[in-house]
Symmetry: C2
Subunit: 280 residues, 2 copies
């Protein structure tokens, strides 16, 4: 097995030095899905959950998902056994002629990209983070909701709303005024012993860390629920945390001028997430 040099940071269909055709439907239409995950000492974190999510997202779009072993082999070739970094996996519907119609015999394109782990400020983990309240309202499209697909212009337009480096993410509501997620993370709010997270059947991305926190909540004696929640309701929460596969969970200390005291929910979930990782 060839391990790639640091300069060769991606594989396309298992080949180094490859590139994407401008006729690839991922490029033409955003016709594909992706995953972003931590690779710790060469091993992808929570791989089974990531692969299941990738396969499910592909299924919903009618894209054929490569076998897990193919992707694991790619990851082993791109990441040194000692390396901790970020893997991004992209699966597209493959190369097509012009037009939206699908040729069912098209082979999907698979890409594995290595990027450095973001240099998160230690304070995000210790003190919590500040969120921007986005003006952009997410559009409701149940056929695409939950999927981590390549149509991400809404996230980009939302991310353009702030430049302050002290703001780590933006809180997104849908057109009805329900809180949904942040641009790069999911969200949980604790009300006494209830832990709620927004319903994502109309819009938003169902991240696998959200799934892991839902499952782990009983360990902290919290009752987890998926709900519709408006912004005024959210702002009454005892604690708010955001989560994704790279940073785990962060405490939210400020949203649009409303502040929360230092609390420990995010840290407790990070410990559970890390313990699970170690035992896998």
């Amino acid at each position: 097995m060839t391990v790639l040099t640091p300069a060769q940071q991606f594989l396309i269909n298992g080949e180094s030095g490859g590139s994407i055709s401008p006729l690839d439907r991922g490029f033409a239409y955003g016709d594909g899905v992706f995953r972003t995950l931590r690779v710790d000492a060469g091993m992808p974190d929570a791989w089974d959950l990531h692969y299941n999510k990738l396969a499910n997202d592909c299924r919903r779009l009618g894209i054929s998902c490569p076998a897990a072993n193919l992707l694991l082999t790619d990851i082993r070739r791109v990441f040194l056994p000692t390396e901790t970094a970020v893997a991004k996996i992209v699966i597209t519907r493959g190369i097509g002629v012009r037009g939206y119609a699908i040729n069912p015999s098209t082979e999907s394109t698979r890409v594995v990209i290595k990027t450095p782990l973001p240099d998160y400020p230690e304070l995000n983990f210790v003190k919590g983070v500040k969120l921007h309240l986005c003006d952009l309202r997410l559009a409701c499209q149940p056929l695409l909701a939950g999927i981590k697909h390549l149509n991400r212009l809404e996230n980009i337009m939302a991310r353009m709303e702030w430049n302050d480096p002290k703001i780590v993410d933006g809180l997104l509501l849908d057109e009805k005024g329900n809180v949904i997620e942040c641009t790069m993370s999911n969200l949980f709010a604790r009300f006494k012993n209830e832990l709620v997270t927004p319903d994502l059947t109309q819009c938003g991305v169902e991240g696998i860390t959200r799934q892991r926190i839902l499952q782990a909540s009983a360990q902290l004696n919290l009752l987890a629920r998926v709900v519709d929640i408006t912004l005024p309701q959210l702002l009454l929460a005892d604690e708010i945390i955001i989560c994704n596969s790279l940073f785990g969970a962060w405490q939210v200390k400020e949203v649009g001028g409303i502040f929360w005291e230092e609390q420990s929910l995010a840290m407790q979930f990070r410990e559970i997430l890390q313990a699970k990782h170690a035992s896998n």
Copy 2:
């Protein structure tokens, strides 16, 4: 100036044999816009309108649009002076690091692709076409509405709804029940001497042929209006036509079991569009 051989059917940033980086934001997020246009005997049809639309769409997404001359030079290199075919122009925000945040100094990527003119059945022009009534409802996102951007999963999901080759396009409504467009064309309905087309400020793509037909309607003594129109209202129209830059305009003869007699509005507009082209 090098004219490319038939095998070299695209230029990327003016270079033949180029390819797209998997780090290009067009591939990563569908972060870009495109145009599809006819090139007749080496000359792009309605170029000023196409370029203005491309530049406007880029501006709305905050993408820097290449100069018209650069694109015209690309087109002259890809198309022989005698050639009639389709040009697809794609402009993306360029190569980026992972994450939705934008680096304002990123240079955009420009792609010019040549594909053959579709082999449209003559009957589409003579007798009209049949539309599928799509189940998918377009999501409303005013920040992206009207733009021909690279986030086209809704069109793809809608196009997956039918396989009958006799159906040429699918009629799309929005989540409120308003008629918006078809998957690859805009739509007009005539009620007596009024010619109406759906408002596209919430969703849909504002094609330049729609714009040309709106401007040309007075020549046919029609009063053009942009309106909200429901499906039951549409089905009462005296005539319906669909339009895009490749086929011009086609008469609609059937939508979901409702039929229209042979009429001539589409043909009249095709004549005006072609005459304009000849006089340009």
